[in-house]
């Protein structure tokens, strides 16, 4: 019996510890794994109207990070909910089981739903749909780093597609600090060995920050630099999202 179990073919499982040696990020002149410059974002692909059943939806692809967000409602709040003279926003972020290199690893991001809620709530005119609920469901198809910023930007695009009234589009960008360098829009490889990260969610034309998180040790001048970098990228991303919406609107008119 013992001999049999020893010869039985074992299932292949890629062990992440045996990967190629970690790239050295601390040098001054290293090249990012995908060949980008330090302050260069990944090319963004955005489309609205990805799901037919939803009142609004959007698909976003930033490098390998692929996200789909659908917005349902405004619809009547559940009977159990108390009366409220402003609308409710319900957000949920989930990962597909195949989104990460190890199966089912994406489920350890329980806080993302609450963070998405907070990032969007300040931008939506909740007074415009009293007694009702808007559901925002985000699904990460492939996780390739900077997942939450992509989810947030994509969700605001889906909300705009659904015709929910907002003060402004919400855009989000993160930076990683690796040694003495600041790297914008990090991929998974860079995120896994970062010394710290900063994520900003902003409404570019109102110049307001709706969500902000920071990890790792930072000095004040470095925070200044990173915030400026993020806000600039946010306003650029806002322009791309706007043009995407305009394109969709002009295509539907024809």
């Amino acid at each position: 019996m013992a001999g049999k179990s020893a010869t039985a073919p074992t299932t292949y499982s890629p062990s992440p510890s045996q990967r190629k040696q970690k790239p050295i990020f601390k040098d001054v002149d290293w090249v990012r794994p995908d060949g980008r410059g330090f302050h260069q974002c990944r090319p963004a692909f955005l489309r609205t109207g990805a799901v037919n059943a939803a009142s609004g939806s959007a698909y976003a692809e930033f490098g390998n990070t692929k996200v789909i967000v659908s917005v349902f409602g405004p619809r009547e709040s559940k009977k159990a909910m108390m009366y409220s003279d402003i609308g409710r926003l319900n957000c949920n972020v989930s990962y597909t089981t195949f989104s990460t290199s190890v199966r089912g690893q994406g489920s350890d991001h329980k806080e993302f739903s609450a963070m998405l809620h907070k990032a969007l709530e300040g931008a939506i005119l909740l007074e415009s749909f009293p007694k009702t609920t808007v559901d925002v469901f985000a699904l990460v198809l492939e996780s390739g780093g900077s997942d939450l910023p992509v989810v947030i930007s994509c969700a605001s695009l889906a909300l705009a597609d659904a015709g929910i009234m907002m003060f402004d589009l919400v855009t989000s960008v993160s930076v990683s600090s690796l040694g003495s360098n600041l790297v914008i829009d990090p991929i998974t490889e860079e995120e896994s060995c970062q010394d710290g990260s900063l994520m900003i969610t902003s409404m570019p034309s109102r110049n307001e920050v709706t969500q902000l998180t920071l990890t790792g040790e930072w000095s004040t001048p470095k925070i200044h630099e990173a915030m400026e970098l993020c806000l600039e990228a946010c306003s650029k991303l806002g322009k791309i999202m706007r043009s995407c919406l305009k394109e969709a609107a002009s295509a539907s008119q024809e």
Binding site: S15, P16, S17, K110, E111, A114, K118, E121, G122, A123, S177, E191, S192, C193, Q194, D195, G196, S197, L198, S202, M203, R206, N207, E208, V209, T210, Q211, L212, T213, L214, T215, G216, E217, W218, S219, T220, I223, H224, M227, L231
Partner: protein, 287 residues
């Protein structure tokens, strides 16, 4: 939820605008802090911290475990906060669960540093016993006994006090027969190693009410906030974590101003907390 009448709200906001809050404090003063250490005998370290009517208990338990194969030279720390429904009825069910996750994530963000372990308040490499084989797993649990605003700051202070109260047993390793085998360990129950807490940051939450921000908001004041930002700041004045709460947007320049105010407040809080912790430990040693 705190129900306030229009008059009460006006009184509260007016007081904050004039730098005299309803309990007589200035905008940036904390309520009186009291610290007790060693409150839970079963844990390796514990503390109870009260700031005003907010009361929390933090406990630290250490268990031997196996390090993560991706990080063979580091121990593991998990932080979990429990908001018991005995503190407030709104903590029952989903409301409490959401708050617990939010607080746990915010504490992990401020204490554990970046993915590479840089800037962590708790030095993970000090938890290793045999590289790649045995390490200490620290389980830090916070319990909210009574909530009257500013939970995150109080939890941060309680964890800091509990960590400085923590003694990790000395481990004797008998040489393993071969490098493949798990080495045998002998945990001493007499000798304890003190945990280095000089790098553990304090958390300062600034709550924005109207145009001003206040430190250590009570739950009444929190009900009037537009947004709040929690900063965790270490002894060197470096920011180790930052979390924004509340939906309203903030101007970037306001955030930068808040950082410099928070730094100033954190220095005072750090000194006060240090003296309170050492007083509590001296008292515990006496009794």
């Amino acid at each position: 939820m705190v129900g306030l009448s229009a008059g009460e709200k006006h009184f509260l906001q007016g007081g904050i605008a004039q730098d005299l809050r309803s309990d007589g404090r200035k905008r940036l003063t904390y309520r009186p802090i009291s610290v007790e250490t060693g409150v839970i005998p079963q844990a390796n370290g514990s503390a109870r911290v009260r700031i005003g009517a907010t009361d929390v208990i933090a406990s630290v338990k250490a268990e031997l475990g196996k390090p993560n194969p991706l990080q063979p030279d580091k121990g593991k720390v998990s932080i979990y906060v429990d908001c018991s429904p005995t503190a407030a009825p709104m903590f029952q069910g989903r409301g409490g669960e959401e708050l617990s996750t939010e607080l746990s994530v915010a504490l992990q963000r401020s204490l554990l540093g970046g993915k590479s372990g840089a800037g962590a308040g708790i030095d993970l490499s000090s938890l290793i016993v045999v590289e790649g084989k045995i390490c200490w797993d620290l389980y830090i649990d916070g319990l909210v006994v009574s909530a009257d605003g500013n939970l995150l700051d109080v939890l941060g202070a309680a964890i800091k006090a509990a960590l400085s109260n923590t003694g990790i047993p000395k481990v004797n390793i008998s040489a393993a027969a071969s490098p493949e085998e798990q080495p045998e360990v002998d945990i001493s129950d007499e000798e304890f190693l003190q945990f280095d807490t000089s790098g553990v940051p304090v958390i300062v939450t600034l709550t924005k009410v109207g145009r001003h921000y206040i430190a250590d908001a009570t739950s009444e004041e929190e009900s009037q906030m537009s947004s709040a930002v929690s900063f965790s700041i270490n002894r060197h004045g470096h920011i180790c974590g930052l979390t924004k709460r509340g939906g309203a947007g903030l101007d970037p320049s306001v955030i930068l101003d808040m950082i410099s105010v928070a730094k100033h407040v954190s220095e005072q809080l750090m000194t006060e907390l240090d003296s309170k912790i050492s007083a509590a430990e001296a008292y515990e040693a006496e009794s």
